[in-house]
Amino acid sequence: MNVRGHFVNDLAELKGEVLELGGMVEQAFTETIEAIRKKEYSKFDDIIIQDSKVNSLELEINEKATLMIAKQQPVASDLRKLIVSLKVSSDLERMGDLSVDMAKAAQRLTEKENLIQFEEELLLMASKAHVMIKAVLIAFRDTNTLEAQKIAGMDDEVDHAYAKFVQSLFEVVAVETGVTEQVMQMAFIARYIERIADYCTNIAEWIIYEVNGQRFDLN
């Protein structure tokens, strides 16, 4: 195979690894949410431990991309593909961290009785974020800018759900006593979900950048 052919293969492999990372992050997110839903508190430790795999794959992607830049001196769309791989994997890694943060917050919730009436709202918000994660990974896989642009609308929905959820938590604190710790942990979890959705929007922006070289603010 010629040099160019090797480079094209390496680019495809790199993208495959970023998608693999995306798959791991999506799994960590769904497992965390499922554990919250099913009250399988023992699973949180696993989720926290698994995050180290996400971190090492991200490092591997960084090293590979750096080496490709150093050896091939890519320009134009080739360079953008590499930069986007670096940026997207970094955003994915942060999303992984946020799932860990969610798991830790959920662990703290286990010690108290849950505020059941709010769990449904929280899970609804999580499912919206999950749709975003899946959509953005598919848009990244297919380099589909139109699908990437739709992510912005989904993020608005998550933002809206987050604002509503926090508002209802405020109202609980005002009337009930002894729920501050629970309310705080739930607010944290909601915040982490909202941040994950923001990272999806970031990734969507990188997909557009990969195609036309322009940053396009979707937030």
Binding site: V75, S77, D78, Q149, D156, A163, N212, Q214
Partner: protein
């Protein structure tokens, strides 16, 4: 909360840098050139600006060397050359009968791929041009030699051996000597045809640094096969293919977001 409306239109490419305030040194208009029946340059339209480095890139046989040699009318030395269209140098058509080719070549210096010093001393290599232009005064000649060698960033290396044969210099030094020889007649434009392709990386770096310094006072047009070099040192880049200018733009744009797929394919190494 912002609305959910999403534009399906992606933003347009940003506008090319406005050139309104820059002086045009060369303006090529509808230039066509034939070698016999071979249509080597096809309807070329290109401006070249003062105090800028314009790089010309493209695969072998695309017409880039022909084009640069047309700018100082050296191409006319080839038999069976036919040219139509015009090249305005400082607003005058270089193909006009009253335009003196000697005057053009005084104003437009050229550096070639292989260093080509004369078989003379370093001093005489530089003093050659000024002497032809009638400068006899030794003091003035000495001043010109020092100024030119300094301008080409080689003075420190040769100041103690000015009367040795130029052939004793390394390839990189010889090339900078040729650039100094070019500077000695105080040109307006310097044409460079792959000036570093015969040099090692260190000499290449020196010549590239020199080009960056020279553009303060001169306008430079460089043909290069080395795309990274074009990206590093030029302000504008023109991509030639099969005798046509496929794309001409700010170098930053050509190497990040070229408009034409053929440019993208060439600079990313898909062909050429």
């Amino acid at each position: 909360m912002s609305s959910l409306s999403i534009s399906t239109e992606l933003p347009l490419k940003k506008e090319t840098t406005e050139q309104v305030n820059k002086t045009v040194v060369y303006d090529t208009k509808n230039l066509n050139l034939w070698y016999g029946n071979n249509h080597a340059l096809k309807n070329i339209n290109l401006p070249m600006y003062k105090n800028e480095v314009t790089a010309i890139i493209g695969p072998s046989g695309c017409g880039k060397s022909t084009y640069i040699k047309t700018l100082n009318r050296m191409v006319e030395l080839v038999q069976n050359v036919r040219i139509s269209g015009e090249i305005l140098y400082r607003e005058k058509n270089i193909f006009d009968k009253e335009f003196r080719v000697e005057e053009l070549r005084t104003r437009v210096g050229m550096v070639f791929q292989k260093p080509n010093p004369f078989p003379k001393t370093i001093f005489d290599n530089i003093a050659y041009g000024p002497r032809i232009h009638g400068i006899k005064d030794k003091k003035i000649l000495k001043e010109i030699v020092e100024k030119s060698l300094r301008g080409a960033a080689i003075w420190e290396e040769v100041k103690d051996r000015l009367h040795e044969n130029a052939y004793g210099l390394s390839g990189g030094q010889q090339q900078r000597l040729c650039i100094a020889r070019c500077l000695a007649v105080e040109p307006d434009v310097i044409l460079m045809d792959e000036p570093t392709s015969a040099l090692d990386p260190k000499s290449t770096l020196k010549v590239e640094e020199l080009i960056q310094e020279l553009k303060e006072n001169y306008s430079i047009i460089i043909v290069t096969h080395n795309m990274q070099q074009a990206a590093r040192i030029s302000d504008k880049t023109a991509f030639f293919l099969n005798g046509e200018v496929i794309e001409y733009d700010d170098t930053d744009i050509i190497f990040s977001t070229p408009s034409d797929k053929r440019t993208e394919d060439y600079i990313t190494g898909r062909f050429g």
